[in-house]
Symmetry: C2
Subunit: 212 residues, 2 copies
């Protein structure tokens, strides 16, 4: 009990710090390789096009692949290696916030480690959260992980261009999510080509024009 | 330290129990949705065709999707829901072994929860282990998770039929694995169509004919 209480306290502190700086913050979590980084890359370019300054926190077990991809898009980024931990926690995010120029940011994306279980128990203190899955993982992803889908209000089903090749009907995932979380929103995307990204940003409250 | 010591003890007990019954056992782990169940389905059919009796332990956070797929292929199977745990452990496997007719099995596959981090720290006591990843997860899967790939001697890179569609060169994963684990073997498969399955079974020591 105490651990969760402590996590919530730390998450609350992060939330306050981000609000004090007027930063819109989004946690991006989901399955391994579902397209989290690709979606954020697209979002960075789109939001910078609207004149917003974007920062990122990239968490991976090892390496800095995602971090370098964010830097290459012009975001200022902090890399975190969680090593044997398969999820980020609020304490680590608190440290990462110290390494970001919060006074110069409008938006922050925090990419968690690929995992559909633990992140449900470790709130980070961001304002919004997206769970990204991919049709290539199968049509059972939502019903196999009810907890994380019950508590998130925005789901992205990515790589819909590959649905036929894996024999998955995206509507199956849509129906499973509606059954677990009737008020949540779910968007089908092809993040690689940018399809659906504006819709996701609009649902997050960024008034992007739907010009794509 | 104590936890790991305890885990090793429990794993050792499972290992002894399986050897006493003359059962060839394989842990199948890997990323979420990489094709673990599809690969095991193919292996069940292939090994049954050689007159072997196959059992399975199917672990998922929730539900019994994988378990039912194994039953449908004629394996006798036990389902485990790990709920908030994102990995199987030897203790849970010990209980599952009690629910299997060990005297009537020649082969056992244990499918872990999709996760490339924790399972590296929780040995289950099986004789062999395979880590299954998919090209659809990106070309960085091996270098992002060095620990699990350093300690496993057989890797399957699945869904190679989709490599061009995601823009991934499977040889990049092959090279990363060779750098981390020069003695390990890596097989490219399309488990959905059965391609590469015989090669995997041969490397596990099952003298399958390469008739496919
Ligand atoms: N065909 C297709 N490929 C995609 C799409 N989105 C991402 N990819 C590819 O999928 C692979 C993984 O994408 P990433 O964005 O790295 O995924 P991730 O969720 O950030 O991965 P991790 O951080 O390693 O968990 C890459 O090879 C991408 O090019 C898509 O919409 N369609
Ligand atoms: N195109 C293609 N699709 C595949 C291949 N192997 C598996 N699939 C599809 O990929 C999806 C996931 O496969 P599963 O076997 O359920 O994957 P898993 O690793 O057992 O998934 P979890 O147990 O949920 O982690 C399913 O829709 C399969 O049909 C393959 O070689 N090629
Ligand atoms: Mg990423
Ligand atoms: Mg499975
Ligand atoms: Zn975890
Ligand atoms: Zn775990």
């Amino acid at each position: 009990e105490d651990i969760l209480g402590r996590q919530l306290e730390l998450a609350e502190a992060n939330y306050k710090k981000l609000r004090e700086h007027g930063i819109r913050s989004v946690s991006v979590l989901g399955a391994i390789g579902s397209g989290k980084t690709t979606l954020i890359e697209r979002a960075i370019v789109r939001l910078q096009g609207e004149g917003l300054r974007v920062g990122t926190i990239a968490a991976d077990s090892a390496g800095d692949d995602d971090h370098r991809r964010f830097l290459a898009k012009g975001a200022c980024s902090v890399n975190i290696n969680t090593q044997d931990d398969c999820h980020l926690d609020a304490h680590t995010v608190d440290h990462a916030l110290d390494d970001l120029p919060l006074g110069e940011l409008d938006v922050l994306f925090v990419e968690n480690v690929g995992n559909l279980i633990c992140p449900a128990d470790f709130p980070l203190g961001t304002e919004r959260e997206i769970v990204v899955i991919s049709v290539t993982e199968g049509d059972d992803m939502v019903r196999k992980h009810p907890k994380i889908f019950a508590q998130t209000d925005l789901v992205v089903v990515n790589k819909v261009d590959l649905a036929a090749a894996v024999g998955v009907d995206p509507q199956r995932l849509v129906a499973d999510y509606a059954a677990i979380n009737p008020h949540g929103k779910i968007v089908l995307t092809e993040a690689k080509g940018g399809r659906g990204v504006d819709e996701v940003l609009a649902l997050l409250g960024f008034p992007c024009t739907n010009t794509q």
